[in-house]
């Protein structure tokens, strides 16, 4: 009888405690960050822009573009497939003559047959028309996105790896090693960006590199001058982190140096690192576009957003009369950079423990 009562009491205690337990919601730091991220409308907009562009450039071509190697699909257009359906252009010129005090105006219309369908206006066949060479603008927009996104991701990835390793080593060891690495950073940060890319581009011109790979080589240089920013960020964080108790504990456990740096210190820098990576994705896309615009990066016939805008620097008629050839590429660049900036800002706010909202 006594025992039974005890059991009953105990089950009652359990009963009353259970709802209390359920009221407390345990959230991991990651989930909190995700929640705070999605609470901001701007971050969601940014995410939609970025994901949308990814779908557009990686899935889009599979649906609308001719992906066969020899462009044998007649219903769709490929990246470097010319529209050779031909086109007749009419040009009208007026000339005024004065004969015996009477003015005569002569209007002359010349008919010119072009082999390629150049500068076609947007239609069902070419959603955004064709460009100066007769390529389909809409399809090239998608392929251009591929190049921009791939190149920027590779560059940011490399910058982060080199920056974390160098910054980690400099911050952890300090002293002479720190001094050497930081002075190298100082030198690299003072190297001019675009002008030196122009020199490298000239070297590449001289050494007959395939047009497809130029942009990758140029981005390697960008990586080379950009890692000091990340290295400084990581070093600064590690300098303050290495004095904290958990590092004393790691020391007492006898962990190896590599483990201390990359398993205990670097993860603590991750929030700032992720934000920096997202924001630099935007600036890398801008860099790539600028290079291509200057005709240094991706060269014709291959497509990149910058290259597609490059047309107007030599042809003012296109600038004035054929907006659909160059404006969409610029809009794509803006969407990409803006998207990454919104996401980066959202992440920064979400990860900042001080910024409670």
């Amino acid at each position: 009888m006594e025992e039974l009562k005890n059991e009953e009491v105990q089950s009652k205690i359990v009963d009353t405690e259970e709802p209390l337990d359920k009221n407390i919601k345990l959230m991991s730091p990651t989930r909190m960050v995700v929640r705070r991220f999605f609470r901001s409308r701007l971050s969601i907009v940014g995410l939609i822009m970025v994901v949308g562009l990814f779908l557009f450039s990686f899935v889009g071509p599979l649906l609308v573009a001719d992906t066969t190697a020899d462009y044998s699909d007649d219903t769709k257009w490929g990246e470097i497939e010319l529209d050779e359906s031909g086109k007749t252009e009419y040009a009208t010129a007026t000339a005024t003559y004065t004969v015996d005090g009477v003015e005569y105006t002569v209007r002359q219309t010349t008919e010119k047959y072009l082999k390629d369908n150049l500068r076609a206006t947007p239609s069902k066949e070419h959603l955004l028309g064709t460009d100066n060479e007769g390529y389909d603008v809409f399809v090239r927009l998608m392929y251009g996105g591929r190049i921009s996104l791939i190149v920027s991701f590779i560059a940011v990835f490399l910058i982060t790896i080199i920056g974390v390793v160098m910054g980690g080593i400099a911050g952890y060891f300090g002293g002479a090693i720190d001094n050497v690495i930081m002075r190298v950073c100082d030198i690299l940060m003072c190297l001019p960006g675009v002008p030196i890319l122009l020199i490298i581009s000239t070297i590449l011109d001289a050494s007959d590199i395939d047009a497809k790979y130029r942009i990758y080589l140029l981005m390697i240089y960008l990586t080379f001058i950009s890692w000091p920013g990340t290295a400084r960020l990581v070093r600064g964080q590690i300098l303050s982190l290495r004095e904290q108790e958990f590092m004393v504990a790691a020391e007492a456990m006898g962990y190896s140096t590599g483990r201390k740096i990359f398993k205990h210190l670097v993860p603590n820098v991750m929030p700032q690192l992720i934000v920096q990576m997202t924001l630099s994705l935007g600036s890398m896309i801008l860099y790539e576009a600028t290079l291509s615009y200057l005709n240094l990066g991706v060269k014709a016939p291959y497509a990149a957003w910058g290259t597609m805008i490059n047309i107007i620097s030599t042809n003012e008629a296109v600038l004035q009369n054929h907006w659909y050839i160059w404006v969409p590429a610029g809009v794509c660049i803006v969407i990409a950079v803006l998207g990454f900036n919104f996401v980066g800002d959202g992440l920064r706010d979400a990860m900042d423990p001080k910024g409670r909202r």
Partner: protein
């Protein structure tokens, strides 16, 4: 005294950095095949201008070209350094005059444009940053933030061309390119007006693209200051909000602004390559772009060193200014 010691130490560092930068640029130039350089020289000769035999030999000597052993390259580098110490950057192939002279002649235009743009940038960005911060999370904050973010995200070549198409080619309010109207001979005040007329769209492009970072910096600093104790004290004293913001809060955001302005000063001379290319302005950036497309090695080398010098100076000035305006910072 310790300040002087600090400045001396920083100057030594700067020289060291410049040496490092020059070494990298020199080796890059040496990577160019010599016959390629010869081709480029021939192209310039065919284009009408003449590159005198002397200029070419002087350059070959200066860079020690032709001797590609390690010692040869090092010797070439030291030759070049010695010439640099005598302020001799060689003779430009395209222009036929000393590189330093080309730089000095064209940096004025770039500086004028950059200076006007910077003045407007600060005048617009700072008030925007302050209103965004004092109305944090309001509609005004969001609108300002989104607009400047769009400004940051615009590529200069794209936005410049849009403005050019709209205001110059379609509406015809401003000239599309160049710096002077060649058909009218102006002098004095008229000439200055003509300059300003031509500079309007380029400056507008630069201002809109550069407001963003400055506005966000002001906003962040302002928010930080607005949370401090002495702002609460000022409000508790019953001061007007306007006085609290303008006299107590804003003054303390000036430190980073002044520091960044000092760092910005040298870079005003460097030229905006893209904007100058879009509007075909005779600034140093456009000249450099043209020189590089035509393989003008002495100019490329000189221009890059010039840029490196400006950025070293910028860092140095910013650091010194930081210690100067903020007495809490001790220079070490």
């Amino acid at each position: 005294m310790s300040n002087l010691k600090y400045i001396a130490k920083r100057l030594l560092y700067s020289i060291f950095i410049l040496l490092g930068v020059s070494l990298i640029i020199y080796f890059l130039i040496r990577l160019m095949p010599v016959d390629f350089i010869q081709d480029k020289i021939n192209a310039i000769n065919q284009g009408g201008a003449t590159v005198s035999e002397e200029t070419v030999t002087a350059m070959y000597e200066m860079y020690g070209l032709g001797d590609n052993s390690f010692m040869g390259i090092m010797k070439g580098y030291f030759n070049w350094l010695v010439a640099l110490a005598h302020f001799d950057l060689g003779t430009s192939f395209v222009h036929g005059i000393p590189v330093a002279q080309v730089i000095v002649e064209h940096m004025g235009v770039s500086f004028a444009i950059a200076l006007i743009a910077t003045v407007f940038e600060f005048m617009i960005a700072i008030p925007l940053g302050i209103t965004a911060a004092t109305h944090q999370y309001s509609l005004r904050d969001y609108v300002v933030t989104i607009l400047v973010m769009i400004g940051i995200s615009l590529p200069s070549f794209f936005f410049g061309n849009i403005l050019k198409d709209l205001f110059a080619l379609k509406l015809g309010w401003f000239p599309a390119s160049g710096l002077v109207n060649a058909t009218v001979s102006n002098s004095g005040f008229g000439l200055i007006l003509d300059y300003l007329h031509h500079m309007f769209i380029p400056v507008l492009t630069i201002v809109i693209l550069s407001i963003g970072p400055r506005m966000r910096m002001t906003r962040a600093n302002m928010l930080e200051v607005m949370n401090s104790d002495y702002i609460r004290t000022a409000r508790a004293k019953g001061l007007q909000e306007r006085v609290v913001i303008n006299k107590h809060a804003f003054r303390n955001t000036l430190i980073p602004l002044v520091t960044s302005l000092a760092g910005l000063l040298p870079s005003l001379f460097s030229g905006a390559i893209i904007t100058e290319q879009v509007f075909n302005l005779p600034g140093i950036g456009n000249i450099a772009l043209d020189a590089m497309n035509r393989g003008d090695i002495p100019f490329i080398m000189g221009y890059n060193m010039f840029l490196a010098l400006l950025s070293v100076l910028g860092v140095l000035l910013a650091d010194l200014m930081y210690g100067l305006v903020d007495p809490r910072v001790k220079l070490e």
